[in-house]
């Protein structure tokens, strides 16, 4: 939960720079100071990028070349043994599927559960709703360590130890705690005229939820689904504890569990990191436009 709000490196900033009158604009374009400021901002950017560059350079560089020319040289020839050995060693397709399977179910079911909760709280205005929302918000702040041992024990008792379903159930609830908090405040401002009109047409609560409320909050739900997916994908602690065998683990756990292994030379480590972060990056790039639209939703209540 490092990031409550994921955002986008979109080429489309949410709002264009405010229109300026022409005279100060012309004045701004003079002077050398702006180049120094730009240089400073670019240097910070390069510092952020440096580890990625080093990773890419050394993911395809042979160990011999690494020890000879160091981490900053361009590889003279492409060396794919690191990629191959990581891929085979962790059985990457299995891990990819595990991560995808867990994250996708959590994202969809979690958003659905959030919608049901928020419908009762935001539109039903049930009694004590303030306390309920507080409780959900609190749940989001809890350290997972305060839940893990009982959960671990419960999973064993119901035969879900080392099962992805235990992780799916846990994250569905944890993510929907945040989703409920967010959606309840969105639905709290839902136009009552729409609800009344639907009720006059004889629609019941269930139909109003799916035919009136759902279509209108769909953009927000889409953002929630994407957030939940990325957050669950990136989770570490609970999958680390609950998923104990090779065939159930997710990508971050697989990479971390290879640490300290003798076969983890420089190319394998870098290739492993590179392959492991690609799915998150690709997913993010695909959905960045959806995120741009809903990004401020989570920032300020």
């Amino acid at each position: 939960m490092a990031a409550i709000t994921q955002e986008t490196p979109a080429p489309a900033p949410v709002a264009p720079a405010p229109p300026r009158r022409s005279r100060p604009g012309a004045r701004h374009r003079r002077g050398a100071a702006r180049w120094f400021v730009l240089a400073g901002a670019v240097v910070v950017g390069l510092a952020v990028l440096a580890p990625f560059v080093i990773m890419v350079l050394n993911a395809v560089k042979s160990p011999a070349e690494y020890s000879q020319n160091g981490p900053l040289s361009l590889p003279t020839e492409l060396y794919f043994d690191g990629v191959v050995s990581f891929w085979q060693r962790v059985d990457f397709p299995t891990k990819l599927w595990n991560s995808f399977f867990i994250s996708a179910i959590v994202a969809v079911v979690g958003a659905g559960l959030s919608l049901l909760n928020a419908y009762a709280i935001g539109i039903g205005r049930i009694k004590g709703r303030l306390w309920i929302v507080m409780l959900f918000l609190l749940a989001n702040m809890l350290p997972q360590e305060a839940l893990i041992y009982p959960l671990f024990d419960m999973a064993r008792q119901v035969g879900l130890s080392n099962s992805q379903w235990s992780v799916i159930i846990i994250f569905t609830v944890i993510q929907s705690a945040f989703g409920t908090y967010l959606l309840a405040s969105v639905l709290g401002t839902f136009p009552p005229a729409l609800l009344e009109a639907a009720a006059l047409d004889g629609a019941g609560r269930w139909r109003i939820l799916w035919q009136v409320v759902f279509p209108i909050v769909r953009p927000t739900l889409a953002v929630l689904v994407i957030f939940f997916f990325i957050w669950t994908w990136n989770e570490f602690f609970i999958p680390l504890v609950m998923l104990t065998s090779n065939d159930t683990q997710t990508i971050p756990i697989a990479l971390a569990s290879l640490q300290g292994d003798r076969m983890m030379d420089a190319p394998t480590t870098n290739a492993g990191s590179l392959i492991s972060l690609l799915p998150a990056l690709i997913f993010f790039l695909i959905f960045q436009r959806t995120l741009t639209r809903g990004v401020t939703a989570g920032a300020v209540k």
Binding site: M1, A2, T5, E7, T8, P9, A10, P11, P13, V14, A15, A17, R21, G25, H28, V37, L38, A41, G45, V48, L49, P51, Y66, L113, L116, N117, Y119, A120, G124, I126, K127, F136, L138, M141, P143, Q144, E145, A146, L147, I148, Y149, P150, V173, R205, F236, F237, V241, P252, I253, A256, D265, A266, S273, S276, L277, A280, F284, V295, A299, V300
Partner: protein
């Protein structure tokens, strides 16, 4: 008087009652996955237990008394302060300046495209799994084969530091990694916040001869205070909970120099088989997080009230 009363339906069911069924799945799931485990964890913390099928033996507050005298426990919370510096204080301060520079200075002089590209660059570390980032950094900072020390030896430094292996450099190294991970989050939030600020405020201040720094202090900072609170709250909670980076970078070592409460509790649960003790650590951490969050929320409420009174 009697007519309107008679016109009302006789039994007055509250309007919210029919909505209760919609909350039932969520409530049940919440109780099973969060409520019950949380209470059970506190209960376990009152026992000495090796976990699994081993017997529980009642020790009352014994675990907490032991924590009080446990230097590792205190070290872990001291290190939490370092985590707050690395994940809240530094990123928020730098993020504030970067966001203002990107939005208000570079965006205007070089176009919003330049600002968007730089913002995306800063944000990049936020989208990847933090464990993956940790593995990458673990290799970069490795004493023998890591990229950083190979570079340092290349420029003639004979014995570069063992960044993660030396108790004196491990914590600062971890902090640097966390700053790198965290920096993009406040930048993005603050840039979104700045778009709310009325540009006429800046123009008026500029006409009055206020320089960039004066405008930043007098307009930008007060206007985006709500976002500053959100960033402070979420990042502080995240800093107190931090686990993944510690696990992949240092495992709390060397000599507990990077131990944090979450990792200490994990260690007791699954490594030392001291489940009751681990549960006590987790319980204390939970209380600390709730208290800190409550304080931040109260400060926010007070600031809002003062602002309303002032306006």
């Amino acid at each position: 008087m009697s007519a309107p009363v008679a016109a009302r339906p006789r039994r007055r069911r509250p309007a919210w009652l029919p909505y209760v069924p919609y909350l039932i799945p969520g409530a049940v799931a919440f109780v099973v996955v969060i409520g019950y485990p949380l209470v059970t964890n506190v209960y376990i913390s009152l026992f000495s237990w090796r976990g699994g099928l081993a017997p529980l033996s009642w020790v009352g507050l014994g675990n907490y008394v032991e924590l009080w005298h446990d230097t590792a426990f205190w070290t872990s919370f001291e290190n939490s302060l370092a985590m707050i510096v690395a994940m809240v204080v530094v990123p928020t301060l730098i993020g504030l300046v970067l966001a203002a520079v990107l939005f208000d200075y570079l965006g205007r002089r070089f176009g919003s495209r330049v600002a968007a590209v730089l913002r995306a660059t800063y944000y990049l570390p936020q989208i990847l799994p933090v464990a993956v980032a940790g593995v990458l950094w673990n290799w970069i900072l490795n004493a023998q084969t890591g990229a950083l020390n190979v570079i340092l030896r290349g420029v003639g430094l004979d014995s570069p530091p063992n960044w993660l292996g030396d108790p004196s450099t491990a914590l600062p190294s971890v902090m640097l990694v966390l700053i790198w991970v965290q920096i993009g989050y406040p930048v993005v939030i603050f840039m979104a916040a700045l778009q709310r600020v009325d540009p006429e405020l800046y123009e008026a201040a500029e006409l009055d001869g206020a320089g960039w720094w004066r405008r930043f202090r007098a307009i930008t900072m007060p206007q985006i205070r709500p976002e500053t609170f959100v960033v402070t709250l979420t990042c502080t909670v995240a800093a107190l909970k931090v686990f993944g980076p510690i696990y992949v970078l240092t495992r709390g070592g060397p000599e507990s120099s990077t131990l944090v409460p979450s990792y200490y509790s994990y260690l007791n649960f699954f490594d030392k088989s001291r489940v009751g003790y681990g549960a006590a650590v987790a319980t204390v951490l939970t209380i600390v997080i709730i208290v800190v969050a409550a304080v931040i929320l109260a400060l926010q409420a007070r600031a809002e009230r003062r602002e309303e009174a002032g306006a």
